[in-house]
Amino acid sequence: MLETAPDQVDLEKLVHSELRRLLVERDRPPGVIEASSRLGLDLGFESLDLALLVARLEVATGLDPFAEDVAITSIRTVGDVVSAYRHMGGPPADGGYEDEDLLAVQRRTRARGIQASGDGSG
Protein backbone atom coordinates (compact mmCIF):
# COMPACT_ATOMS: atom_id res chain seq x y z
CA MET A 1 0.00 0.00 0.00
CA LEU A 2 1.20 3.55 -0.68
CA GLU A 3 2.81 5.25 2.31
CA THR A 4 0.71 8.38 1.88
CA ALA A 5 -2.62 9.11 0.25
CA PRO A 6 -2.08 9.21 -3.51
CA ASP A 7 -2.63 12.55 -5.18
CA GLN A 8 -4.83 12.99 -8.22
CA VAL A 9 -2.02 12.55 -10.73
CA ASP A 10 -0.76 9.43 -8.96
CA LEU A 11 -4.25 7.95 -9.03
CA GLU A 12 -4.68 8.48 -12.73
CA LYS A 13 -1.24 7.03 -13.47
CA LEU A 14 -1.93 4.09 -11.18
CA VAL A 15 -5.30 3.31 -12.78
CA HIS A 16 -3.80 3.52 -16.28
CA SER A 17 -0.85 1.38 -15.25
CA GLU A 18 -3.09 -1.33 -13.77
CA LEU A 19 -5.28 -1.28 -16.87
CA ARG A 20 -2.24 -1.75 -19.10
CA ARG A 21 -1.11 -4.62 -16.87
CA LEU A 22 -4.50 -6.28 -17.28
CA LEU A 23 -4.38 -5.88 -21.05
CA VAL A 24 -0.95 -7.50 -21.19
CA GLU A 25 -2.15 -10.35 -18.97
CA ARG A 26 -5.08 -10.88 -21.33
CA ASP A 27 -2.72 -10.95 -24.36
CA ARG A 28 -4.23 -7.80 -25.77
CA PRO A 29 -2.22 -4.92 -27.20
CA PRO A 30 -1.82 -2.23 -24.52
CA GLY A 31 -2.52 0.50 -27.11
CA VAL A 32 -3.58 3.94 -26.03
CA ILE A 33 -5.69 4.23 -22.91
CA GLU A 34 -7.70 7.41 -22.74
CA ALA A 35 -10.29 8.74 -20.33
CA SER A 36 -12.97 8.06 -22.91
CA SER A 37 -11.89 4.46 -23.53
CA ARG A 38 -14.78 2.15 -22.77
CA LEU A 39 -13.78 -0.69 -20.45
CA GLY A 40 -15.93 -3.28 -22.16
CA LEU A 41 -16.34 -2.22 -25.76
CA ASP A 42 -12.90 -0.67 -26.36
CA LEU A 43 -10.64 -2.55 -23.96
CA GLY A 44 -12.53 -5.86 -23.88
CA PHE A 45 -12.67 -6.21 -20.10
CA GLU A 46 -15.25 -8.44 -18.45
CA SER A 47 -16.67 -8.10 -14.96
CA LEU A 48 -14.08 -10.35 -13.32
CA ASP A 49 -11.33 -8.28 -14.93
CA LEU A 50 -12.80 -5.22 -13.25
CA ALA A 51 -13.03 -7.13 -9.96
CA LEU A 52 -9.32 -7.86 -10.23
CA LEU A 53 -8.59 -4.22 -11.07
CA VAL A 54 -10.54 -3.04 -8.01
CA ALA A 55 -8.78 -5.58 -5.78
CA ARG A 56 -5.35 -4.47 -6.98
CA LEU A 57 -6.19 -0.81 -6.60
CA GLU A 58 -7.49 -1.43 -3.08
CA VAL A 59 -4.24 -3.10 -2.11
CA ALA A 60 -2.22 -0.31 -3.74
CA THR A 61 -4.19 2.64 -2.36
CA GLY A 62 -6.28 1.38 0.54
CA LEU A 63 -9.29 2.82 -1.27
CA ASP A 64 -12.42 1.05 -2.47
CA PRO A 65 -14.96 3.53 -3.84
CA PHE A 66 -17.22 0.68 -4.91
CA ALA A 67 -17.79 -0.64 -1.40
CA GLU A 68 -20.51 1.93 -0.72
CA ASP A 69 -20.77 5.01 -2.92
CA VAL A 70 -20.54 3.89 -6.51
CA ALA A 71 -21.87 0.77 -8.21
CA ILE A 72 -19.20 -0.86 -10.36
CA THR A 73 -21.93 -1.63 -12.86
CA SER A 74 -22.26 2.10 -13.49
CA ILE A 75 -18.62 2.44 -14.50
CA ARG A 76 -18.22 2.50 -18.25
CA THR A 77 -15.03 4.33 -19.13
CA VAL A 78 -11.48 4.70 -17.86
CA GLY A 79 -12.42 8.23 -16.85
CA ASP A 80 -15.26 6.84 -14.71
CA VAL A 81 -12.78 4.66 -12.82
CA VAL A 82 -10.36 7.52 -12.19
CA SER A 83 -13.21 9.80 -11.09
CA ALA A 84 -14.52 7.24 -8.64
CA TYR A 85 -11.13 7.00 -6.91
CA ARG A 86 -10.59 10.75 -6.95
CA HIS A 87 -13.90 11.44 -5.29
CA MET A 88 -14.31 8.57 -2.92
CA GLY A 89 -13.98 10.95 -0.01
CA GLY A 90 -17.42 12.27 -0.93
CA PRO A 91 -18.68 15.37 -2.66
CA PRO A 92 -17.07 18.75 -2.06
CA ALA A 93 -18.27 20.80 0.91
CA ASP A 94 -20.50 22.92 -1.31
CA GLY A 95 -22.46 19.79 -2.14
CA GLY A 96 -21.57 19.84 -5.81
CA TYR A 97 -19.27 17.59 -7.76
CA GLU A 98 -16.33 19.09 -9.56
CA ASP A 99 -16.18 16.30 -12.04
CA GLU A 100 -19.00 15.85 -14.50
CA ASP A 101 -17.82 12.33 -15.18
CA LEU A 102 -18.40 11.27 -11.60
CA LEU A 103 -21.73 13.04 -11.52
CA ALA A 104 -22.79 10.96 -14.51
CA VAL A 105 -21.61 7.82 -12.73
CA GLN A 106 -23.59 8.74 -9.63
CA ARG A 107 -26.69 9.37 -11.74
CA ARG A 108 -26.36 5.98 -13.36
CA THR A 109 -25.90 4.36 -9.95
CA ARG A 110 -29.08 5.96 -8.66
CA ALA A 111 -30.98 5.08 -11.81
CA ARG A 112 -29.94 1.44 -11.51
CA GLY A 113 -31.03 1.40 -7.87
CA ILE A 114 -34.49 2.70 -8.72
CA GLN A 115 -34.82 0.24 -11.58
CA ALA A 116 -33.74 -2.67 -9.42
CA SER A 117 -36.12 -1.87 -6.58
CA GLY A 118 -39.04 -1.57 -8.96
CA ASP A 119 -38.20 -4.68 -10.92
CA GLY A 120 -40.05 -7.16 -8.76
CA SER A 121 -38.40 -10.09 -10.46
CA GLY A 122 -36.53 -12.94 -8.87
Partner: protein
Protein backbone atom coordinates in the same frame (compact mmCIF):
# COMPACT_ATOMS: atom_id res chain seq x y z
CA UNK B 1 -10.42 -43.17 7.66
CA UNK B 2 -9.91 -39.44 7.64
CA UNK B 3 -9.11 -37.80 4.34
CA UNK B 4 -5.99 -35.67 4.56
CA UNK B 5 -6.68 -32.01 3.91
CA UNK B 6 -3.47 -31.69 1.97
CA UNK B 7 -3.58 -35.00 0.12
CA UNK B 8 0.16 -35.22 0.47
CA UNK B 9 0.44 -38.57 2.21
CA UNK B 10 2.78 -39.95 -0.44
CA UNK B 11 4.82 -36.77 -0.81
CA UNK B 12 7.13 -34.93 1.54
CA UNK B 13 5.33 -32.11 3.30
CA UNK B 14 6.12 -28.71 1.79
CA UNK B 15 7.72 -26.12 4.06
CA UNK B 16 5.22 -23.88 5.84
CA UNK B 17 5.92 -20.97 3.51
CA UNK B 18 4.80 -23.09 0.54
CA UNK B 19 1.67 -24.46 2.17
CA UNK B 20 -1.73 -23.25 0.98
CA UNK B 21 -3.59 -20.84 3.22
CA UNK B 22 -7.02 -21.57 4.68
CA UNK B 23 -9.35 -19.10 6.37
CA UNK B 24 -11.83 -20.72 8.75
CA UNK B 25 -14.40 -18.54 10.46
CA UNK B 26 -15.39 -19.42 14.01
CA UNK B 27 -12.49 -21.73 14.79
CA UNK B 28 -12.44 -21.65 18.57
CA UNK B 29 -14.84 -24.50 19.27
CA UNK B 30 -17.07 -27.23 17.84
CA UNK B 31 -16.93 -27.87 14.12
CA UNK B 32 -14.71 -24.83 13.52
CA UNK B 33 -12.10 -26.09 15.97
CA UNK B 34 -12.12 -29.53 14.32
CA UNK B 35 -11.72 -27.87 10.91
CA UNK B 36 -8.73 -25.86 12.14
CA UNK B 37 -7.14 -29.05 13.47
CA UNK B 38 -7.66 -30.94 10.20
CA UNK B 39 -6.55 -28.12 7.91
CA UNK B 40 -3.37 -27.62 9.92
CA UNK B 41 -2.33 -30.92 8.33
CA UNK B 42 -0.84 -29.29 5.26
CA UNK B 43 -2.24 -25.76 5.35
CA UNK B 44 -1.45 -22.53 7.07
CA UNK B 45 -4.66 -21.71 8.92
CA UNK B 46 -6.05 -18.35 9.96
CA UNK B 47 -9.17 -18.27 12.07
CA UNK B 48 -11.13 -15.84 14.17
CA UNK B 49 -13.83 -15.83 16.79
CA UNK B 50 -15.12 -13.52 19.46
CA UNK B 51 -13.20 -15.30 22.20
CA UNK B 52 -10.42 -17.83 22.36
CA UNK B 53 -10.64 -21.32 23.80
CA UNK B 54 -8.10 -23.50 25.61
CA UNK B 55 -8.43 -26.12 22.87
CA UNK B 56 -7.60 -23.63 20.11
CA UNK B 57 -4.74 -22.16 22.12
CA UNK B 58 -3.30 -25.67 22.46
CA UNK B 59 -3.61 -26.32 18.71
CA UNK B 60 -1.85 -23.06 17.87
CA UNK B 61 0.86 -23.71 20.43
CA UNK B 62 1.56 -27.14 18.90
CA UNK B 63 1.51 -25.90 15.28
CA UNK B 64 4.81 -25.14 13.51
CA UNK B 65 5.74 -21.44 13.51
CA UNK B 66 3.86 -19.27 11.04
CA UNK B 67 1.20 -21.86 10.29
CA UNK B 68 -1.60 -20.86 12.65
CA UNK B 69 -3.15 -17.49 13.37
CA UNK B 70 -6.10 -16.46 15.52
CA UNK B 71 -7.66 -13.06 16.02
CA UNK B 72 -10.49 -11.92 18.24
CA UNK B 73 -13.14 -10.18 16.19
CA UNK B 74 -16.82 -9.85 15.62
CA UNK B 75 -17.79 -11.80 12.51
CA UNK B 76 -20.58 -9.34 11.76
CA UNK B 77 -18.24 -6.32 11.69
CA UNK B 78 -17.30 -5.91 8.01
CA UNK B 79 -14.34 -3.62 8.62
CA UNK B 80 -12.92 -6.06 11.16
CA UNK B 81 -13.19 -9.05 8.83
CA UNK B 82 -11.79 -7.00 5.92
CA UNK B 83 -8.82 -6.05 8.08
CA UNK B 84 -8.34 -9.69 9.06
CA UNK B 85 -8.28 -10.84 5.43
CA UNK B 86 -5.84 -8.07 4.50
CA UNK B 87 -3.61 -9.08 7.41
CA UNK B 88 -3.58 -12.74 6.36
CA UNK B 89 -2.89 -11.87 2.72
CA UNK B 90 -0.15 -9.44 3.67
CA UNK B 91 1.43 -11.96 6.06
CA UNK B 92 1.19 -15.15 4.01
CA UNK B 93 0.78 -13.80 0.47
CA UNK B 94 -2.21 -15.85 -0.60
CA UNK B 95 -5.60 -17.30 0.32
CA UNK B 96 -6.52 -20.70 -1.09
CA UNK B 97 -9.43 -21.83 1.04
CA UNK B 98 -12.32 -20.18 2.84
CA UNK B 99 -14.61 -22.18 5.09
CA UNK B 100 -17.58 -20.09 6.12
CA UNK B 101 -18.26 -21.94 9.34
CA UNK B 102 -19.23 -19.32 11.91
CA UNK B 103 -22.92 -19.18 12.61
CA UNK B 104 -25.50 -18.68 15.29
CA UNK B 105 -28.79 -20.45 15.90
CA UNK B 106 -31.79 -19.43 17.95
CA UNK B 107 -34.79 -21.72 18.28
CA UNK B 108 -38.36 -20.58 18.57
CA UNK B 109 -41.54 -20.17 16.61
CA UNK B 110 -41.36 -17.06 14.47
CA UNK B 111 -44.19 -15.04 16.09
CA UNK B 112 -42.35 -15.20 19.40
CA UNK B 113 -38.89 -14.30 18.16
CA UNK B 114 -37.36 -10.95 18.98
CA UNK B 115 -36.18 -8.73 16.14
CA UNK B 116 -32.66 -8.77 17.55
CA UNK B 117 -32.50 -12.57 17.29
CA UNK B 118 -33.72 -12.51 13.68
CA UNK B 119 -31.35 -9.72 12.75
CA UNK B 120 -28.37 -11.40 14.39
CA UNK B 121 -28.94 -14.71 12.61
CA UNK B 122 -29.22 -13.03 9.22
CA UNK B 123 -26.21 -10.78 9.90
CA UNK B 124 -23.89 -13.51 11.13
CA UNK B 125 -25.02 -16.53 9.09
CA UNK B 126 -25.62 -14.76 5.82
CA UNK B 127 -24.35 -11.20 5.47
CA UNK B 128 -21.05 -11.80 7.25
CA UNK B 129 -20.41 -15.01 5.29
CA UNK B 130 -21.13 -13.29 1.98
CA UNK B 131 -18.82 -10.41 2.93
CA UNK B 132 -16.04 -12.78 3.92
CA UNK B 133 -16.35 -14.52 0.57
CA UNK B 134 -16.31 -11.10 -1.13
CA UNK B 135 -13.01 -10.24 0.53
CA UNK B 136 -11.41 -13.64 -0.05
CA UNK B 137 -12.41 -13.88 -3.70
CA UNK B 138 -10.69 -10.56 -4.39
CA UNK B 139 -7.50 -12.03 -3.01
CA UNK B 140 -8.02 -15.27 -4.96
CA UNK B 141 -8.40 -13.24 -8.16
CA UNK B 142 -5.24 -11.29 -7.35
CA UNK B 143 -3.20 -14.46 -7.07
CA UNK B 144 -4.35 -15.49 -10.55
CA UNK B 145 -7.40 -17.52 -9.65
CA UNK B 146 -7.75 -20.91 -8.07
CA UNK B 147 -9.23 -21.55 -4.66
CA UNK B 148 -12.01 -23.26 -2.82
CA UNK B 149 -14.86 -21.88 -0.75
CA UNK B 150 -17.05 -24.09 1.40
CA UNK B 151 -20.11 -22.67 3.08
CA UNK B 152 -21.40 -24.60 6.08
CA UNK B 153 -25.10 -24.96 5.46
CA UNK B 154 -27.56 -27.23 7.27
CA UNK B 155 -30.14 -29.90 6.64
CA UNK B 156 -32.56 -27.23 7.77
CA UNK B 157 -31.90 -25.55 4.42
CA UNK B 158 -33.11 -28.69 2.67
CA UNK B 159 -36.13 -29.64 4.77
CA UNK B 160 -38.49 -27.61 6.92
CA UNK B 161 -38.34 -28.08 10.66
CA UNK B 162 -40.48 -26.44 13.30
CA UNK B 163 -38.84 -23.67 15.32
CA UNK B 164 -35.92 -22.92 13.01
CA UNK B 165 -37.53 -20.90 10.23
CA UNK B 166 -35.09 -17.98 10.34
CA UNK B 167 -32.05 -20.23 10.73
CA UNK B 168 -33.33 -22.31 7.79
CA UNK B 169 -33.77 -19.16 5.72
CA UNK B 170 -30.17 -18.07 6.30
CA UNK B 171 -28.80 -21.49 5.39
CA UNK B 172 -31.01 -21.87 2.30
CA UNK B 173 -29.81 -18.44 1.22
CA UNK B 174 -26.23 -19.60 1.62
CA UNK B 175 -26.99 -22.55 -0.67
CA UNK B 176 -28.31 -20.19 -3.36
CA UNK B 177 -25.28 -17.98 -2.87
CA UNK B 178 -23.09 -21.06 -3.31
CA UNK B 179 -24.61 -22.00 -6.65
CA UNK B 180 -24.52 -18.53 -8.17
CA UNK B 181 -21.04 -17.72 -6.91
CA UNK B 182 -19.83 -21.02 -8.38
CA UNK B 183 -21.09 -19.90 -11.78
CA UNK B 184 -19.46 -16.48 -11.38
CA UNK B 185 -16.04 -17.73 -10.40
CA UNK B 186 -15.75 -21.04 -12.20
CA UNK B 187 -13.79 -19.55 -15.08
CA UNK B 188 -11.14 -18.50 -12.56
CA UNK B 189 -11.01 -22.02 -11.14
CA UNK B 190 -12.43 -20.85 -7.83
CA UNK B 191 -14.77 -23.60 -6.65
CA UNK B 192 -17.69 -22.89 -4.33
CA UNK B 193 -19.58 -25.62 -2.52
CA UNK B 194 -21.66 -26.10 0.59
CA UNK B 195 -21.86 -28.83 3.18
CA UNK B 196 -25.16 -29.38 4.94
CA UNK B 197 -24.56 -31.32 8.14
CA UNK B 198 -27.34 -33.20 9.81
CA UNK B 199 -27.52 -33.32 13.57
CA UNK B 200 -24.11 -34.07 14.98
CA UNK B 201 -22.87 -34.37 18.52
CA UNK B 202 -22.05 -30.80 19.47
CA UNK B 203 -23.10 -27.97 21.71
CA UNK B 204 -25.81 -27.16 19.16
CA UNK B 205 -27.72 -30.37 19.94
CA UNK B 206 -27.03 -30.36 23.66
CA UNK B 207 -30.43 -28.79 24.25
CA UNK B 208 -32.17 -31.77 22.64
CA UNK B 209 -33.47 -34.32 25.10
CA UNK B 210 -32.68 -38.02 24.83
CA UNK B 211 -36.12 -38.65 23.30
CA UNK B 212 -35.53 -36.06 20.59
CA UNK B 213 -32.10 -37.48 19.77
CA UNK B 214 -33.54 -41.00 19.65
CA UNK B 215 -36.26 -39.81 17.28
CA UNK B 216 -33.68 -38.25 14.92
CA UNK B 217 -31.64 -41.45 14.97
CA UNK B 218 -34.74 -43.54 14.18
CA UNK B 219 -35.46 -41.34 11.13
CA UNK B 220 -31.85 -41.51 9.92
CA UNK B 221 -31.20 -44.41 7.54
CA UNK B 222 -27.67 -44.86 8.92
CA UNK B 223 -29.14 -44.97 12.45
CA UNK B 224 -26.84 -42.57 14.25
CA UNK B 225 -26.05 -38.91 14.66
CA UNK B 226 -23.16 -37.55 12.62
CA UNK B 227 -19.77 -37.07 14.18
CA UNK B 228 -17.76 -33.92 13.72
CA UNK B 229 -15.26 -35.97 11.71
CA UNK B 230 -18.02 -37.00 9.27
CA UNK B 231 -18.49 -33.34 8.43
CA UNK B 232 -14.82 -32.34 8.49
CA UNK B 233 -13.98 -35.18 6.08
CA UNK B 234 -16.35 -33.80 3.44
CA UNK B 235 -15.18 -30.19 3.85
CA UNK B 236 -11.60 -31.35 3.58
CA UNK B 237 -12.41 -33.39 0.47
CA UNK B 238 -14.14 -30.46 -1.20
CA UNK B 239 -11.10 -28.26 -0.64
CA UNK B 240 -8.70 -30.88 -1.98
CA UNK B 241 -7.56 -31.57 -5.55
CA UNK B 242 -9.66 -34.76 -5.39
CA UNK B 243 -12.71 -32.50 -5.76
CA UNK B 244 -11.25 -30.40 -8.56
CA UNK B 245 -14.30 -30.86 -10.81
CA UNK B 246 -16.94 -30.24 -8.16
CA UNK B 247 -18.46 -26.80 -7.79
CA UNK B 248 -21.86 -25.34 -7.01
CA UNK B 249 -22.91 -28.36 -4.96
CA UNK B 250 -24.50 -28.66 -1.56
CA UNK B 251 -23.59 -32.00 -0.03
CA UNK B 252 -25.75 -33.25 2.81
CA UNK B 253 -23.82 -35.11 5.50
CA UNK B 254 -26.80 -36.43 7.37
CA UNK B 255 -26.80 -40.22 7.20
CA UNK B 256 -29.61 -40.08 4.67
CA UNK B 257 -32.00 -38.05 6.82
CA UNK B 258 -33.03 -35.84 3.89
CA UNK B 259 -32.74 -38.33 1.06
Amino acid sequence: MAISASETAARPAPPPSAQPVAIISGGSRGLGLALVERFLEGHRVATFSRSRSDELDALIADAPPETALWRSLNHADPSATSGFIREVFSRWGRIDVLVNNAGVAADGVLPLMRFAEIDQMISVNLTASVWLAHQCTRMMLMQGGGGSIVNISSVNALRGHRGVSVYSATKAALDGFTRSLAKELGEKNIRVNAVAPGYFESQMVNHLGQDAKARIIRRTPLRRLATVDDVVNVVSFLCSPAASFITGETIAVDGGLTC
